[in-house]
Structure formats: structure tokens, C-alpha cells
Symmetry: C2
């Protein structure tokens, strides 16, 4: 026996249909790549997305074909997403911050047939087009005027395409498990791997994030997604904003403090989302210019751990609530968010702030656990840390083309590669990447915890901690410090600074001063490169005494 409710497949074309039908006049305001601010509405962008679907069909795109975008957050980029997904093709977001070599690898691995690109990225495409063997067309997200300087062979003009095709096209009508979008992981180990989202997974993620305790986007909100659509799907905002009927403000390529501040104020933004760096730039700008935030109420921060100073700065100086979130490409991306739960009703503002520095709790529909290496579930005591594993309708089941083989454990959980604690209120805190955690005498030491404290030293510009081989303890921590320009420092003063802030046995066996702490494509410390550079390094505590 089956239930007798309607068969209504969860396909994402219904999101923009809903926005058009019920919030047709709500705006999408973009800082265009050409320069001026341009305004569209859900009704207009819906029509343009439909025209684009017909254009794609005329270019031979079929159900399941991959069509890529290399673009900033603009209304055009949004239209392209829905135009692709509406007809069952797969929208593949390319990260322009990747090295050319990786970009080519990804395009070819995905077998992208078309790349939609902003003017910004024409040079890199011109240089590498020949290596992108599957690509038949490049479409430049501009008008005829903008095409004048374009020298890329066979490049098509987006506005021409839109104009040439009718909006009369059927969206949806396929199974909800059809693929909708593709995004490659940054690939700190091995080649980048593709996560192939389904319509169903994107749809359920959208519903889950719309909950008041998750992102809680309302139709009354004006949302500025600073987080790029090529970075973990802009945390789903390109789907949840139209679903909620929120006004969208798209920042284009200008993510500096002054440009973001201008949009926040002129467009009366109430909600925004970005990585910590962007918020740091905005805070600095506001302080420099004695600026204020008159409409902004909430910002969500993710991508890397949020520094306490940002949370306090926004709260105390600008009356803005900062919410910390965690996720990854493999989780669509929202995995946890630091929204207080019923268990935290009696916390003081200061206790709440400390809690909100953690990555937070898992939304309904996401299962989560921490385990030891043998897979045993570890307690939610806030101190025991273990491998962070997740399961749910928008968690990756396998990578595109089966890369990496079986990636779920025997209970169906995906190992995030992060190491974390979970406390009694259910709040999760990332303590390290599994491959960066230092295993000393059978116990785990969090490299991130030590480096975060070390970065607080006034002389430190940046810091990193890695495990170095040790004959007795297996591994011992070593602290790498990049000093601020023009200052000098000693091993002793850094070790003294850590004293009392970490367990004694966590104290690094050495401090090494370096000229550079390398960062990866997503702005995180590239520990793989650091380990490569340090491969011949020997700990002083591990050195064979001279003459022994």
C-alpha cells in the first residue's frame, strides 16, 4: 500500500516558478561586471532563464549534459543556473581561483559542453581554451557592447542568445533524482573530485535551510550573498532566496569593504553571508570611515572558523548578529549552524557568544556523529574529539564517475575529513582536519587549536602547526610562525605565550620562523604544501646526538 498524496517531484525549476508566481516583482539587484548597478525581478529573470533554456537546446544541450559557469554573483549567473537546471542539464560551477591546470582538469573531467563566463575570465579562457577539449561554446555574460573587446574564438554573446530565443519551454517533468548541479572539491589531496547534486538534494537542502533555526530567509529579507555561487553553491542562497521571495543583492566581482558597504546601505540589506576575510575587510572599512550598518540584522559566516573579534565587533559596534556555520561541497553545503537551541535558553550573553564561536548544531535532516578510528561513536562531552561523519539527503553518496571509490562507512555515513568535538547541547566544534591532527603517543593533538592561539601573539602575522616525525611519540607538533614585517621573535617567547593556554604535552617541540605561510585556493592554510616544504626537517627532540 502506498500513501495517496500527489506525486510532485522535488525539482528546482519549481523554485523560480514559485518566485515568479508569488514574488514576481521582488528585485535582483546586481553590481554588473561591466560596472553599473542593474536591476531585474524574479518575473523578468524567470523569463530570461526560460529563453536561455531554449538557447541551450538550440546549442544541442540535453538532459544530463554538463554546462559550466565561470562567473561572479549576478542576476545573469542566476538565470544561467535555472536555465540549465530547468531542462535537466547539469550546472557545473567553476572556481576561478583555481590554477589554470586544475581548471582544465575539471572542465575535461566533467566533459563540460559550454562555459558561461564573465568578461573577467576571458584571459584565462583564451589561454586555456585549446586544452578544454569537450567545450564547444563559450558564452560571454555581457551585451553586444561588451562583446567588442572579446577575442575568444567562437564566443557567443549572452544578451544576443536571450534575445534570439523564446521563453516558451517546459521545465521539469523528469525524476527528482536527476542531476542538477556539479561542483568539484578543492582537492587538497589528489585530483579535485566532483559532487553531483540531484534536484532532490538541492530541493531538500533549500527547505531545510529555510527553517527559522537554520538560515531562516524570509520574504521580507533583502539578502546579499557575498559567498560566491561557485563556492559551495553560495550556501544555497541562489535557491533559498527565490523560494522565500527575498530580494537579492548580487555583488558581482567587487567584494572589498567599501563596495560591500555601499550595497548593504543603498539596497537596505538585512541578511548577508560570507567567509571571515570579507567580514574582516568590511569591519576595517567601517572603522576607518566611521560607517554604520542601518539595515543589516544578521550575517552568516562560514568557510573557516570565525574569529571572536569579528563576532564581538559586529555585535557591539554595529548591532549585527553573527551566526557561525559549517559545511562543505559534499554537504550541499550546510552541515551545522550555531543557532541556539532550547538547551541554551538560560545562557548569559557571554556564554552564548562563546557557544556561537563553535560551528553549531546540525539541522533537522542531517545526521551527525563523531567516532574514533575504529568507528566507535564518541560521547557528546565537548572535549572528546573524533572523526566527524554525516549522513542525510543532501550529503554526497559517491563522487562523480566513482572517483575515490566507496566513500561511505558501513552505516552509510560520510567521513568529512574533519576532526571535531560535540558538546552536551549538540554544538559541534571543528578541532582539526583529520590529516592535520597530530598523533602523539596514541593521543590526538589539534593543530588548529595551537595555531589559533599562536596567531594571537602580537608579533605573529600568521602561524601554522604540523606534526613532525618523532622516534618515540610517533609525531610531535612544530609551530611555524610568519612574523609581522620588521619585528623579530624568539622560540622562547612563543612557547611562553602558549603556556597555560594548552595542555603541557601539546606544547610544540620547536618553533620555526618562515617567510611565508602558503594558502590554498579557498584561503585556508595549505598544510600539504607546508609538509612538502618541511619534509627534510628534523625535530630537535628527534635528532641523533652528535657522536652517538
Amino acid at each position: 500500500m502506498l500513501g495517496l498524496m500527489q506525486n510532485w517531484p522535488l525539482t528546482v525549476d519549481k523554485i523560480l516558478d514559485h518566485a515568479k508566481a508569488w514574488h514576481g516583482d521582488r528585485e535582483i539587484v546586481s553590481r554588473s561586471v561591466e560596472g553599473p548597478i542593474v536591476r531585474s525581478t524574479y518575473a523578468q529573470s524567470h523569463e530570461r532563464a526560460k529563453r536561455l533554456s531554449n538557447a541551450l537546446k538550440s546549442l544541442g544541450v540535453q538532459h544530463g549534459d554538463r554546462v559550466a559557469t565561470l562567473a561572479w554573483n549576478t542576476a545573469r549567473h542566476l538565470e544561467v543556473w535555472y536555465g540549465i537546471m530547468g531542462i535537466g542539464a547539469v550546472c557545473h560551477t567553476l572556481n576561478p581561483r583555481l590554477f589554470a591546470e586544475q581548471l582544465c582538469y575539471i572542465v575535461n573531467h566533467a566533459e563540460d559542453r559550454i562555459i558561461f563566463t564573465d568578461l573577467t575570465f576571458l584571459p584565462i579562457l583564451a589561454e586555456n581554451a585549446a586544452k578544454m577539449t569537450s567545450v564547444k561554446h563559450f558564452v560571454v555574460l555581457t551585451d553586444r557592447e561588451g562583446m567588442k573587446g572579446v577575442s575568444l574564438p567562437n564566443a557567443l554573446c549572452y544578451e544576443d542568445l536571450i534575445e534570439q530565443h523564446s521563453p516558451d519551454v517546459t521545465w521539469g517533468g523528469f525524476d527528482e533524482t536527476s542531476p542538477a548541479a556539479l561542483c568539484y572539491t578543492s582537492g587538497t589531496t589528489g585530483n579535485p573530485k566532483g559532487v553531483l547534486y540531484s534536484h532532490r538534494s538541492n530541493f531538500i537542502h533549500t527547505l531545510a535551510t529555510m527553517s527559522v533555526d537554520v538560515l531562516g530567509i524570509s520574504g521580507m529579507d533583502t539578502v546579499l550573498p557575498v559567498v560566491p555561487m561557485f563556492h559551495a553553491n553560495a550556501w544555497g542562497l541562489a535557491l533559498s532566496c527565490p523560494a522565500a521571495g527575498a530580494k537579492m543583492v548580487m555583488p558581482g566581482q567587487k567584494l572589498d569593504g567599501a563596495s560591500i558597504h555601499e550595497l548593504l546601505e543603498t539596497e537596505r540589506v538585512t541578511f548577508s553571508a560570507a567567509v571571515p576575510t570579507v567580514w574582516q575587510m568590511l569591519l576595517a572599512h567601517l572603522r576607518d570611515t566611521r560607517g554604520s550598518l542601518t539595515t543589516l540584522k544578521r550575517v552568516v559566516i562560514g568557510g573557516s572558523a570565525v574569529p571572536e573579534a569579528i563576532v564581538r565587533g559586529f555585535r557591539d559596534e554595529f548591532g549585527v548578529d553573527v551566526t557561525h556555520a559549517w559545511g562543505m561541497t559534499e554537504t550541499s553545503p550546510l552541515g551545522t549552524i550555531a543557532q541556539p537551541s532550547g538547551a541554551m535558553l538560560d545562557l548569559s550573553p557571554e556564554q552564548l557568544l562563546q557557544a556561537k564561536l563553535k560551528q553549531g548544531r546540525t539541522p533537522f535532516t542531517m545526521e551527525m556523529k563523531i567516532t574514533d578510528d575504529a568507528g566507535n561513536v564518541l560521547p557528546h562531552d565537548g572535549t572528546t574529539f573524533g572523526r566527524l561523519k554525516v549522513k542525510g539527503p543532501y550529503v554526497v553518496g559517491q563522487y562523480f564517475k566513482g572517483e575515490g571509490g566507496e566513500i561511505l562507512d558501513e552505516t552509510g555515513f560520510f567521513d568529512t575529513g574533519d576532526v571535531a568535538t560535540i558538546d552536551a547541547t549538540g554544538f559541534m566544534q571543528i578541532t582539526d582536519r583529520a590529516k592535520d591532527v597530530i598523533k602523539s603517543g596514541g593521543e590526538w593533538i589539534s593543530s588548529i587549536e595551537i595555531e589559533n592561539i599562536a596567531m594571537g601573539h602580537p608579533k605573529a602575522a600568521n602561524a601554522a602547526v604540523i606534526g613532525a616525525p618523532h622516534p618515540k611519540w610517533d609525531e610531535r607538533p612544530v609551530l611555524l610562525v610568519k612574523l609581522r614585517d620588521g619585528v623579530e621573535g624568539t622560540k622562547e617567547e612563543f612557547l611562553a605565550f602558549l603556556e597555560g593556554k594548552i595542555a603541557k604535552w601539546w606544547t610544540p617541540d620547536d618553533v620555526v620562523f618562515v617567510d611565508d605561510i602558503p594558502l590554498g585556493a579557498t584561503g585556508k592554510i595549505d598544510k600539504k604544501l607546508i609538509r612538502d616544504r618541511m619534509k627534510d626537517y628534523v625535530l630537535p627532540t628527534a635528532r641523533t646526538p652528535v657522536g652517538a
Copy 2:
């Protein structure tokens, strides 16, 4: 090609699993049918629900079998729901307000194997048990002490059952389209018809209602569902509260103003939901006792149109926001809710209040349209009214056992049987039931609009408007008035009262004073019965002149 995200069926057992794992200590507080306030937690009720699942299995219940409840809102009732649904059996909620004959019809039609009942309903069951031929067991929701006075043959004790069985049972593992719950419509025409919800439909309804712009239940909330679990699923609160980790306060059978007020205050309730009658009783109680509402922030009202006086009373006297909602058994039930949208940002508080008296806008995942009799879509102008039709993942596709045949139109929409307008902001307002709308000269007249105005006459205790046959106009409205005790009224003064408040051609052709305006099981005016009583009535405007 398919997306490569995890296969994670949307089954409702995962809701209570989530509550146990992440909000295990949050309370479910019940006013027990035996009298005292009793306290449970999600972790405890999860264990008890699992024990119940084993008890059901021991009684022979299998996947798809119907198990009924005839019970008030309590933690035990909640446990029974999850205990039934977790193993793939169907939870059939019975409405104790139905006449015994209808109750027997429904039990037999559903082929219920077991009925879980509160002590309250033992008399009606004792009297009718013999007619409920499919029922093998009655389980009384009480402990051994409470069983002492129970004379129902073969009645089992709930607490005994729970105690006798282990909590070790597997929930879920079946397809998400499996049936989860069954609820019969009140059946104003013909026999009651069953709506068979699936796990999927209940799950998606839960996610949709958790959105900030729908019910927006947070883990920080304490929710008092006055609306019964047997009435349109308590608007999904038995699912959305555990999903959100909200504390639940279950009122049992005492829904009077004093009892509800006591719970609201002692349990620090922040959110509640009920039909207008309950709120009217609460308002009266608060005014009589000079009581206050110190924690309540929001109430949702549905079931019938919300009177303006209630909205103003709660807002102005008690600082509580009233939100109007509309739905039906066939829509799981939430169809629309009067949450302001982006199009209403500039409304004044008074304009907003007027807007909030409408039934509101449709949540994302629900499609809605109004059409004329030929199925043509009518404009969203706030004045044109037409048949209200809906479509979505938690809208009925067909009734249980195919009763009523094909119920969707050729575009897959379900005709709600309501007549409504939709305005430019997307707010829907019910103007009538389709079968009650008066068709005069090819145009429609809203019976509800006229009777609502007539009820405002100081001499009216109640009023109803029906269409009476007319040789020229097909139908013309006739107003039935029940006068307040001891007053007298005339046709002329009622017609004069309507003048200027409705279009001239809407003016009733006659006013008939009656002793009784009959109400149906759900408290609405029973127009079918009125039409039966008036079947020999002839309009003065339709009478053949004497001697003609």
C-alpha cells in the same frame, strides 16, 4: 544519469530520532486525562514509542495496517503516533466530535485493527464496540490504576503494554511513499472520505511549515498545540515540534480559557495554535480575570475565518501577534498563512492588520490558483473570486479506497471546494464554499460575506445566507437570522443594515427569522442541513401572484 547524493528516505520516524539525538532533554508536558500535569522528554517518549512499536508487532500489526487513536493531545498520544508510524503501520486519528454512526462508519471503512483511546471516550466505545467489526483490541491510554473502572471488554492497559515490551526495534527502512497516517474529512456531502498521508508528504509538510515565513517553530520555542491531533494533524505540530526541538505543552481535554491560560503561563509558552473559538474563550477569561500573557509571542489561528476583534484584542491588550492560516485535511493541512511578504514592506500597521485578516499566502511547495467553472485562471486582483485549487507534495491525490473517483483536474490541481480571491500581493481570501456560493444571473454572490456583515447586527445571535431558486436569476440570496434572546427584529431593519456594505444586487430577496442556525461537527454553519430545512421555501420574489 542520476545525482549522486545519498539515498535517505523521508520517513517520519527520523523526526523523533532527531529529537532524541539532539534535543533529548526537551520536555513534553501534558495535562493528563486523569488530571495531574505529567512531564516527559523527547528521549523518554522516543523510548516509550519504540516499546509501543514492539507491543503493536506482538498484537500482529504489520506494514500498512491501520491503527486508530481516539485521544486528546498528550505525550502518550504522541508516542502512539510515532510507535505506529515507525514500523510502517498507519496512524488513523478519529475525531471524537463525530456522531457515533459516523465514527463506526469510519472505523469500519478504514478497517482499523486497534483503537487507542483516552478514558473520556470509553462510554461511546462501549456502546459501539460491537459495530466496529474490524477492531481486535482497545488500548486505554492510562496506567493500571486508571484501568480500575474500565468495563470495555478486552481493553488493554497502555502503561502495561509499554512496560512489557523492549525498546529494541528498527524504525523506517521502507519506501518514503509508504502510508503513514489516515484522516477522514468531516464529510459535509456524502460519507466521510479518508486522506491517506505518506511518510514523504508528512515529512515535506514538516519541512515546509518550519520555514520562518510559515509556522517558523524554533528550538527555543515552547509550543502549546490546542488544535487537536485528530483535527487536521494539529497542523503538523506533532511533527514540526520534535523536528525543531521545541518544548511541547499538551493541554489534554481541558481547552477552556482558565486551563489554557494556566498552561501558557506556568510552562512559559511562546507559540500556540487553535481555532477562533478557543482564542475567544481565552480572551474573555483574560479580560474577566485581568490576566496577562507574559511569555506568549505568537498564535496561529485557523479552522475558520479569524474575527478582527480577536486579532486586535491579542495585539493591543496582550502584545501577541495573531497569524491567520488556512488549510484542510486534504492539504496536510497547511495551505496558506498570512505572513507578510516583501510586497508588504511599506504597509502601515493598520493596512497590515487588514491584510492579516485574509487567509494569506501559499508557502513554497504549494501551488495555488483560482479559476472559473470552465477552469480558466482568474486574475490576482483581490476582487475576482473563483474556485480555489491547489497542487503540491502534501495535497491529496485520491481519497482512500478511491472514494469520489478522480479528484484532480487535468492540470493535476485539487479543487478545495472553496471560493476565494487572491490579491496582488498573493494573499488569498476565502469568500465562500463553492456549494454555498449563490449564482445569480451568471454572477457569483458570496454567502459568507453577507452573513458575516449580518452577524454584526446587534440583534443577531447568528446568521446564515443561502441561495433560493428564482425563475429569472436562477438563484437569489435569502438571509436567515437567529435573533438574540428576547429581542425582536424586522426584515427591513436587517436589509437597511446591509445597505452600502454590499453591492446592491447582492441584497437578499428575503430575511427569515429562525430559532436555530445548525452547526456541524467542526463548528461551522451546516448549510446542507439549512438547505434541507428550507427545501419547500419559496422566495417572495419568485412566488406566482395570486390569481395569475
